[in-house]
Symmetry: C2
Subunit: 412 residues, 2 copies
Amino acid sequence: MISIDGDRLLADLRKLSEFGRVENGVHRLSLTDEDVAARKWLVERMTEAGLEARIDGLGSVYGTTPGAKRTVLIGSHTDTVPKGGWLDGAMGVMYGLEVARAFIESRDTADTGVDVISFVDEEGHFHGTTGSLAFCGEFDLETVKAFTNTDGVSYAQALERVGFGGTPLALLDRGRHIAFMEAHIEQGPVLEQARKRIGIVTGIAGMRRTAVTFGGQADHAGTIPMAMRRDAAAAMINFLHDVRGRFEAMAADNTVWNFGYYRIEPGAPNQVAAKAEVTVEFRDLDKDLLDRMADAVEAAAADAAAATNGKVSLETERVVVIHPADMVPEIGRDIEAASRALDVEPLWMQSGAAHDAMHLARRMPTAMLFVPSKGGRSHDPAEDTSEADIVLGAQVLAGTVERLLARDAGSS
Amino acid sequence: MISIDGDRLLADLRKLSEFGRVENGVHRLSLTDEDVAARKWLVERMTEAGLEARIDGLGSVYGTTPGAKRTVLIGSHTDTVPKGGWLDGAMGVMYGLEVARAFIESRDTADTGVDVISFVDEEGHFHGTTGSLAFCGEFDLETVKAFTNTDGVSYAQALERVGFGGTPLALLDRGRHIAFMEAHIEQGPVLEQARKRIGIVTGIAGMRRTAVTFGGQADHAGTIPMAMRRDAAAAMINFLHDVRGRFEAMAADNTVWNFGYYRIEPGAPNQVAAKAEVTVEFRDLDKDLLDRMADAVEAAAADAAAATNGKVSLETERVVVIHPADMVPEIGRDIEAASRALDVEPLWMQSGAAHDAMHLARRMPTAMLFVPSKGGRSHDPAEDTSEADIVLGAQVLAGTVERLLARDAGSS
């Protein structure tokens, strides 16, 4: 099996974490100064590794193995959420760099090899998974340039400010790219609690968000008898209790949901709520179940509004609909074999979080592997993975790529 | 019966509403420029009416009938909530001015009469019912001076800015004041729906607020299995549904409650809530029922936390405890007699809102009368009462004072 250099990988990861470091975490939003510096550094490191590297017209960093005609594409993202952790997407990009470097170093000829990509704006400073959607041809340049960040700065303005733009977009090439592989920290506690060191992702859960807004009337909470109130918050409480029961009755083993966002207006203890908005989020691998859950949200909301006899109005909107993405089982079995070759028994598991890989999966054979997250923490400075697990993940990835390239060579 | 001058009363009310007018409403927070101008104008109008008028050391405006040894004290407040209505407390103060003026004009001798007060900071720009609490001796000057408004300005700084302070506090004088009477718009729909023009307040509901805070852990809402979450919002939903059921089971006819204030952190659709805070407010005339409701809040909260098996923590705090205040039935019957003398049948009803009168009621015979609020609206530019009802209320108040003074003279 091809060998990666664990110390070199860890040193690169630590160096990358210095760009945007804030205390124990990393704050590296897409196209900010620290993000741009990290991208330029990554181009240098790719070039030193023997890759042909460039920053594309949206800011994604793309490195290709010179002379290779068939490659496994490895990547993830180096941007972070506000005050995020040091691994997250960064680890998957540096895995790509290290595996590509190991292949280049190990072989004289290079008609196959590894390409590496760091997709821009995965975390949504402007939109979310922007780089991978553009790479798949689902966004053109003009669409992306119109996105604005939370400061009201457009993507076009941000590109101009940092001197990016004008170069071609990196694009998926089905003649070249055999498969896409993304490695990532699990971001959950499943591997740690199961005492497993490698997770093979069966699929990425689809995700829905439905915004449910009840409309009532702001009134003095002391002077209006209960029966005369148009209380939006009371309807919301009924709705939340009801929909949670419906979800529990229909959920599969890995179904998850969250009631995390609320807006109550006017929002004072002594004012009846004129508006109560809650966003219901739910995820599963089964698209049909997600459809039924979306229906259940609307049914529970309609029941809660109907119970007010017209005093409270209702609006629902399916604000996010992301379909589940299946990973390729054949590549999963390659990951399994590469793990077992290192005497490590992996765990097949779903990804509850969204990843760039979900878009690639619609276009090409795609797989993901996870390494454990300490305490299940992520998107937080506390995010961490043991050095041994970080190195193991890269070695398993290298072994998987070796199998993929060998099988591709055998079939051509 | 003594006669008030309805046109003069309405003209004064309209003039007062010009101080701090914003479109159809009035924005006159205590000790702002517009509030101070209104207070100075009120001193002028009181002086013109023959009262000895002054602004006390905290900003309350106090006018006394010269030569009178026994008086009925009439008052309310001229400050407003942000973008409030034109009547609210202002009406009760101008009733006091008009009734005092009518008595002064109608009689040569004045060993009895009417004193008038506009209590400062009723609406809580600094604290709430500050003037009436100080008038009752429950706050000293130094306590009040340390209060700060939402801009961080202390009461002491505000007094200095506007040139108030240094004068004595107006104080309750049980040797002088026979009774306190506060007239107010109802701020609810009860009179309008019952087609009654005068409300006699039986008592002011006590009010409690309990802040309930569940503590969990912020986690990725896609990657953490449901059973492993420490979801503060889920506990809050259980709590709210449970406590509402308990309230419904124990409520009396006029009991009211509100779940109007929420704070969910971090507050994102894809983040499990680390903190979920809700303030439960409830009001009733029966102190024992309020005690039982406060206990029910804590029991429901404890049950919701216990159901998480230690994953979610709980804090509850009884942040506001205001006891119910009974009005004096004998004065209520005077109001009833004064109404019937005008061929108007009044309605006995509770006050769901708090008023300065609740503090006076602990110290002296106190009564309130209500006039209807159009559509039940208050604390809003839409707040209004018909001119005929405004004038009627003042006339009923004058008739009531006449009865009170006559009975006091008869008993002394």
